[in-house]
Amino acid sequence: MPSKLVPEASPETQPFWDGCAAGQLRLQRCRSCDAFYFPPRPFCPTCLSEDVVWEPVSGRGRLHTYLINHRAAPGFEAPYAIAVVELDEGPRMMTNIVGVENTPDNLVLDMALQVTFESRGEMMLPVFEPAR
């Protein structure tokens, strides 16, 4: 069976993936705006300040939107949801939802989610599960 795609870090995103490997979701925060942002880059997309720091976030968020893919990518078993989670800290990320059958009845918009990590080759990928 072919395996799922393994993400490949770039110089600007390496700290994000290092965080995942350590079991921690880390994002950048702009000290001028006092706001988190995503995806990673070495400056704030709002004010272009380079005074930014990597910090762990809560890993908690809400299911913002999703669809259920019926045509599986390599390593996936259809149907499965491709979702967008809105983190409590503000930024949104694409994700998969684990720990629950991916049906419209189970996946209710705005339900609380929490991060967990899925092994992909040598990498750990952030995914989300219903909050306990």
């Binding site: 995806p39 939107t65 893919n69 045509r71 491709i82 979702a83 967008v84 694409m94 705005d110």
Partner: protein
Amino acid sequence: MSIRQQIAIVGAAETTELGHIPGMSSIELHADAARNAIADCGIDPARIDGVACAGQSPVAVAQYLGITPRYLDGTSVGGCSFMLHVRHAAAALAAGMCDTVLITHGESGRSRVGVGGFGGPGFGGATLQGQFEAPYGPTGPPTMFPMGVLRYMKDFGLTHEQLAMVAVVQREWAGRNPRAMMRDPITVEDVLASRLIAYPMHLLECCLVTDGGGALILTRADRAGDFPTPPVYVLGTGESSETPMVSQMEDFTTSKAFRVSSTQAFSEAGISHSDVDHLMIYDAFAHLPIYGLEDLGFVGRGEAGAFIEEGNTRPGGRLPLNTNGGGLSYTHTGMYGMFALQESVRQVRGTAPAQVPGVQISVAQGVGGMFAAAGTVILTNQNG
């Protein structure tokens, strides 16, 4: 300086065949459409001194057609690229950078003759999409583009039946167009019974995958009299972009690029919504006309589903929309924007298969990527 009514589309044509064309590669589809547009207006090909296209390099298209250009535009921002080509060509022509611009589209979307692999630049490896979207299992536009639909449904009460109605109405238009690929009438029940591609989207709510192309020839309005075709004047244009990553849209229920692009075009055209006789909104999926009607300001937020359901965009309705049958029923090669422009030109010329009586102003709204980019072109047959 405004380009309002200074520029005219004098030649317009699609490829001779449309739909399934296994005998032509991508570059030949560009050239077939270009030769048809040249024949449409009877221009001496030696007068063409500008080339714009997407999918192929304008260098390749110019050389293939024997053109020595002094203006090239390879803007490639997805299916709306051709709206941007019209906009850029209008500016270049108005500035005297060149005299006649040929814009071409050709795509072997179905037969995949002479084309590269699927996915496109930017989606693999260590790109941001490759890292933060691709690992979650998308398998093409149907599994990404409709990402906001459930959010829209929750926020505005759009029903599955209203979404399905978009496809039903467009099939009604396609039934009046002999060149449309899918012409048999369908019902809301048919749409909802078709197989799920990416919930909440069913097969009949997703665009076709076809081969084909189209071409436009533009020149300054004062030269339009040299050609036998009725001139179609560029009244206003706009363009914008938001994000290459659908997951990073500011608001999943509205396209910022649609709003910025169309506001610019309407302002330049100096028209209000009630002046618009005919509308094309790029429909890669059934939710696009809904977003487009709202983002272009034809209806209020959350009203588009009911507006379509009530029949306003149907044949005989007060805002005829996607009158060729659209990407859902007419054709969709991959970069459909050229076909939306072609139908706007036909409606303004009065030569469309499903002609709307008395069209003076038509708006063509294009999308690129998955709400990544947008282009708007407003056309008229009125001079001054």
